[in-house]
């Protein structure tokens, strides 16, 4: 039996070697909540051992975020430090790789004023636009992995003690990311090859449209004449491969902007910036969301759809196999990184 520390180190190695695929002399930037400190320390060791020049860590703290939403004046949510945004751009320009650690409490901002949340997201989105373009275009290597917080673990396993909930969530993450395989790095290389094969098969088919039907869903998505299916393995501008999401099980493409019609209902909740949107549906006409419902997080969904002109159009169409290590866990993670990889999904906004 493998100890927790062994698994944690394997998981760190996987992020460094497969997720980021760090190159000698490169700087690794890690964006992480405080509670992932033990994992970040393991990642830093693996990164230096693989030849990284420096590991720069940007920490955040859920409790401080919550306190700010509770006590700061309104004006604080319209600002984002420009020097931080410039710093990210500078590091990206200099070829750094970016590892983000996710795992916040899905209910963290449940009681926060949605207008504050929306303003803060807009301010950071605008300031970080330049950096985001490096990410969205895969110019640089980037990856997202998950580490449990107590709040997240208790959301997934509400009947367990805090300690057991965190343990169980770790086990689920290890299972979903193939850490229980003898050699996770090789297992991932095989997995990425399999995803590539599916991508090629779909591209050969050159489908005109996809028709989704199930309870609450009857949706036709036309695909652009020139659409290309893409899988979870990416390549940066220097030709270095990386994996942006760990886990990833999807093969995805874009939709024809005006060619989406019908209604789609969610089968999993969406955690958007600390607020959960659950049991929701979207109705499209000629590509645009013209109606929507949500049993939970209606206000947040409304603001999300009103973010900008593109937010009511589909940006990503993803197919996911019925069986995978994630869906085998049979767990609702309340975290998009996992839940989106357990079933077919759509994403709205920039493609």
């Amino acid at each position: 039996m493998t100890s927790f520390q062994d698994k944690l180190e394997k998981y760190a190695e996987l992020a460094v070697k497969v997720g980021i695929n760090i190159q000698p002399g490169q700087t690794l930037v890690v964006r992480t909540p405080l509670n992932a400190a033990d994992y970040v320390r393991a990642v830093a060791k693996k990164a230096y051992e693989a030849g990284a020049k420096n590991v720069h860590v940007e920490w955040s703290d859920e409790e401080l975020t919550k306190t700010k939403y509770e006590l700061a004046p309104d004006e604080a949510f319209h600002e984002f430090p420009q020097w931080v945004a410039k710093g990210y751009e500078e590091m990206a320009e200099n070829g750094a790789a970016f590892l983000s650690i996710t795992g916040s409490n899905p209910d963290l901002l449940k009681d926060a004023d949605p207008e504050r949340v929306s303003n803060a997201n807009k301010a950071s989105g605008k300031a970080m636009e330049g950096f985001r373009s490096y990410i969205m275009s895969d110019k640089i290597s980037w990856s997202i992995v998950a580490v449990p917080s107590v709040g997240w673990a208790k959301k997934v396993f509400p009947n367990e003690s805090e300690e057991h909930a965190v343990e169980k969530l770790w086990e689920a993450i290890f299972a979903a990311t193939r850490i229980n395989e003898e050699d996770p790095v090789s297992a991932w290389q095989e997995h990425l090859t399999a995803l590539d094969d599916k991508m090629k098969a779909l591209n050969d088919k050159h489908y005109h449209a996809l028709h989704y039907t199930s309870e609450g869903t009857d949706l036709v998505i036309e695909l652009p004449e020139t659409h290309l299916w893409v899988s979870g393995g990416s390549v940066n501008k220097d030709g270095v491969s990386f994996v942006a999401n760990m886990p990833t099980e999807e093969v995805f493409t874009s939709a024809k902007k005006t060619g989406v019609n019908g209604t789609v209902s969610s089968t999993k909740p969406l955690n958007y910036g600390g607020t959960l949107i659950n049991n929701f549906s979207l109705t499209f006409k000629d590509g645009k969301v013209i109606d929507f419902k949500a049993e939970e997080g209606y206000e947040t969904l409304k603001r999300l759809l009103d973010t900008d002109e593109g937010a009511r159009y589909i940006g990503e169409v993803a197919l996911v196999p019925h069986q995978s290590p994630i869906s085998d866990t049979n767990i609702l993670f309340y975290n998009t990184l996992f839940d989106e990889n357990a079933s077919n999904h759509l994403a709205i906004g920039s493609a």
Copy 2:
């Protein structure tokens, strides 16, 4: 009896109201190790309650620092991110206040290559020169307070368990910073008035020189014709009072650059950037250190004295009362913030 949480909150309030003296609408920047997270969260609450617009926290981690010294390539220690330095300057320019939390393990870098440590200090010193000028000239409000780390606590109380050592160090810090008084904020206001009175008395005396004698020490320090004694209470460019060091018991002035002659021996160790210099002496001729000894940390003291032209001259001459809450603890803290306030001291470098 007051609970630990009560004392922690009083200590947070003291830093916010007396140390920094936060003003409505102001941003508070906190520079802190991860292990002080609970205290930082309490500080953030008190700051927002006192009207702060935002609390920006820059975290560091001792273990990551140690890993970097062990595993990173040499070139990493010649660099400091310019965008971070610019960010500090920008925040200072915009009138932010800066709270630093000290409390690192005094032996953290005991096994690190002194050349790496020296290079890193030089790189950060150079990059942060602009920001440092805001601090050194008291343009902005800044303050340093201490929070125990396990490593520091075990250095001070080597025979206690980790848990007890941290508890005992917290108690010593609370005692030294007057947190056990019923109203620490008022107690500090009285204390600062008393320091001011001593400062005025010394300025009235207008001494020509100070003569220090004790075992291993026979030193004459001439004071400049225009010297002024200053106490621990400071005032920033906007006329807002603050206290740069908590605790502070000293009244200090500068020396005549060429007027220092004789030998001075340490009675307390000096923790310089994670390395301890202990049982050391400096011999001056016409203001300059011409000889030095150290039973521990000789190499670090040598590099410190060779930092630049000014590093061999005295920058600060401080007088400290024989009795104070710090010296009453009868504890050797291995942390300059405390130990310098338990006895008369001298500082080399920029005045």
